[in-house]
Amino acid sequence: MFESLTVISVFCFYMGLIFALAVWAERRQAAGRSVVNNPLVYALSLSVFCTTWTYYGSVGYAATSGMLFMTIYLGPTMVVIFWWGLLRKLVRIKTNHHITSIADFIGARYEKSVPLAALATVIALLGTMPYIALQLKAVLTTFDMITYDTGVASAWIGSHVGPIVLALMVVFTIIFGVRRLDPTERHEGIVMAVAAEGLVKLVLFMAAGVFVVYSLFDGFGDIFTRYSALTESPAGLGLKPRAISFVTWGSYLVLAASAVLFLPRQFHIAVVENQNEDHIKKAMWMFPLYMLLITIFAYPIALARLITGLPVEQADTFVLQLPLKSGHSLLTLLVFLGGFSAATSMVLITSMTMATMISNHLLLPLVDWIPALGFIERHLLKSRWLAVTCFILMGYWFERLVGGQVMLVNIGIISFAAVLQFAPAILGGIFWRQANSRGAMWGLSAGFLVWGYTMLLPALVTGGWFSHHLITDGPWDLGFLRPEQLFGVSGMDSVSHSVFWSLLLNVGLYILGSLTQRPNQQAQREAEAFVGALIQETMFSRGGRHEAYISLPDKRRRIETLLRRYFEPAGAVAVTEKCLRETGLTDKERISITELAELDNEVEKNLAGVVGTAGAHRALTSAGVFTPRESQELSEVYGEILASLRARPEDLKRRINFLQERQELAKHHAEELEEKVAELQNQILRRKLAEQQLRESEERYRTAIEYSNDGVVLIKDNILWYVNRKFAEMFGYSSQRDIVGRNLGTIVHPQDRERVQEISATRRQGRPAPARYDFKGLRKDGSSLFIAVSATSVLYKGRTVNLAYLRDVTERRRHEDEIRQLSRRLIQGTEDERKRLAADLHDEFGQSLTALHLGVRSLASSLPPLLNQQQTRCESLTDMIEELAENVRKISSDLRPDMLDHLGLVPTLEWYVRELAQRAPQLDIKFEAVGFKRRLDPRVEIVLYRIMQEALNNVVKHAQADQVSIRLTYSHPTAIMVISDNGQGFDLVHMHPDGEQRQGIGLISMRERVASVGGSIDIRAEQGKGCTIRVALPERPPAETGQSMGIESQTWREA
């Protein structure tokens, strides 16, 4: 709870902020940097639709009528779907005719009818007065609810809160909206203020909703569950859809759908204040979204409060009571401020609009009617201030009259039903050419009277203004005139009943009146201007050229004189200048009748912004801008134009249809062209992108190839077709051009030329050829180098060419040869050392043992027989010496059998085989030697011996074989030895998948030994199928075995 003074102070502070915002927006407008001219502000300003009725009343309505409250927002959602056609047309008409209000619109459409505009103003006045009352009731009720009075000031405020709030409303309305006359009737400041207040009330209402749903309860589900658990609906509230009549539902939808455009404040914001037709597009979905957000908590809040047991009679204030009862003071104050915000924005716009309508369509016609009141024209602004004050006071009076007995929502519905009466006149006016002032007058009058009788009167009865007998029995006890059962129609609720009768009579008489009156020229012009607003052109563009004989200075004086009645002298001159500028007549002295008519229209439009369209028309007519002759001529021009329109209706219709079809076709073609252009642009873009990617890719590959450390070559028909830099550098050429185009043989040493060319040709023909091989290359200067090649064939431009990567391996080969030489020397050194060691063992150690043996035996024979024990010891020593000698001989033989030197290879091998047979009796060894009639070179013999020794050791240790055969053949000048076994074999590939480096030491040793004497070795083994070793050695090794780094066939590998 707060003191009254505090609340009033907060409110004034808040309004001060809003006013500052409005002033800022106006200054931005003056500086040409409008902040209001954007769709978001436009959509937010439309939220003026959501007043305290929404803020407080929606919860109250939901608590009493269930989901029926949603119709107030669903109706507008349904009608915004057509806003692009409907609202845009209204905006276009407003722009073309300087329309300032909804009454002005109706008057302007129907021959600038003053009575019609006045009638529309009266309807709007009486229709919106309850709405003002609704706002005041909400504000005053909630103010009382949250305040208490302790001090003198607060007590005084508390007892005068009504007048104080009224005074504040009047002051704010005048300051914001009516502090000066604006010919355009556009107020960026006030629109900004309304948009800001729309945002404030949305945020604060949602804050209240979040507080109730998520703080007092555990979310939506919790509320619904607890409500369903109630044994009895608190007041039979009609929360089920069946409780709401379908007719009632539909009636409310219709009422809300019309209200969103035809309430004076809605028309003002949506139409008059619209600055850009394209803003409508975004407002079409933003505005319904706003309504959805601001109402989404209404129903849960209503249920929440019913669960807590608050009386339904207080439903209008549920949203404020919940935080108040929960002791959340700040939230309570903010929620109140949101409600105040909703009320002030509505009162502000409505009062401002109504003040314009009252002054233009009631007061000024009255001045014309009663000349003594002419002074009012010079005090137009003050008269509007008075109108604002009176209007708000009337709303307050109505609130005092019926507010205590009627819920907020019911007051609002009265207003909705009133403005529904505008719908036929406005919709018919922009879509039906034949509609005219008679129809509009009949329809509006009838609808208004029926509304007053069936809706306003019952409300006044409820307020005690009339006897309740009027409702129950009808006037003069005429039952068929009962306001809520007119002509005996019953079964509908009072709202549906009123909507039914008022709309029926309004539409019926509107059509009837329009059909029974033939429109005059002016009426036809106005109808055409409104119905064809979106395809409008000036009538005078049809009229051709006319003689310029009218004096412009004279007309200018008359116009300025007229404008001085409403503007200051300087303002009158400025408006006149503007009109001349707009019509392009500034520098002319004489003008034609059509130009005068255009100038007259322009002046009328500008004056309409101040006094309304009907008032402006009336003023210009009375000002005598046209002389009788000019009027006659203008009438003739109109006649010509209309005659051209009417002369051949069929032709005209056909032409219009034809042109409309052409327009559609052109539009269709334009769209197709637009698509094609977009497609082409897209294609160009994609192509550019592809080209760029191609260039980048080509650059990458070029860089990779050109700067590769390997030589790259493309060979076509044995011709070097492309080479990279490295290739040229590798073969000693200064540039690639020097070598491209030459024969492949140019870079190959004669030693390998034929082979390399053959491989190249084989690959080119698509036959299997080695993918990797080495060859000896030839530099430009004649020096040689060793090249490792990796080659493949590729298809290029439909032909097969060879692509090869070359690497200079000269250095590597040199190192390999050096290693090989060292290896051979090591082998030879080892053999020599073994030979020396064996000789030493045999010659020195053997002889010593022999001498020792003889000495011991001599000693034993010399011992006397009595020394048996010593003799036995000597014999034992003799045996040990013999065994030692045998072992020494064996070791010597293992190191190098001396018989190899003395008896030759074959006997040595036979001896070795015999020895092995004794050690491995399970092995059946066959040895055969053929063709050996003379000794081989000792180096060759030792190699053969070692290979056989190594091979047989492997057989004994690993092969698990039971047969082995050795065949030694001499075929001049080569000795060939083949060793085969039937053992388990081994996987040669698996054993050394990466080459020789992974082979066992035994195999490596064999290869090295064979290579050391210039021979070759072939090892074939397969898992489970034994092993065969074939060694071929020359009779005598070459002098420098392995010195040449020539190509070795065994290094070739098939691809």
């Binding site: 989901m67 056609g85 619904f224 319904p288 042109l659 769209e671 977009a678």
Partner: protein, 93 residues
């Protein structure tokens, strides 16, 4: 490495947008949205469902409302731009 691009391939998004514009940005589509909204907002009546709970009702109505707003958003996106210089009607002669 970038995949090869066919420069002559049509731009599906552009073509689709044009087709959608021709369908969605029309008065007929607006009427369709209106009819859909009418059905959605009257669903509790049309559904012949006697056992609507407040929870069902609330969810149905607001979901239907959200769908309608989504359709209006779609419609508004594809509406043609407003042009005060719309084509003029034919002149006589």
């Amino acid at each position: 490495m970038a995949e090869p691009v066919d420069g002559n391939a049509p731009a599906p998004d552009q073509r689709l947008q044009g087709r959608v514009r021709r369908v969605v940005g029309t008065p007929a589509f607006a009427v369709l949205v209106f009819v859909i909204s009418l059905v959605l907002f009257h669903w509790p009546y049309l559904a012949e469902e006697e056992r609507w709970t407040p929870s069902h009702l609330f969810t149905t109505m607001f979901a239907g409302w959200a769908v309608a707003i989504g359709l209006v958003l779609l419609l508004s996106i594809f509406l043609p731009p407003s042009n005060p210089e719309d084509p003029k009607p034919p002149t006589s002669g």
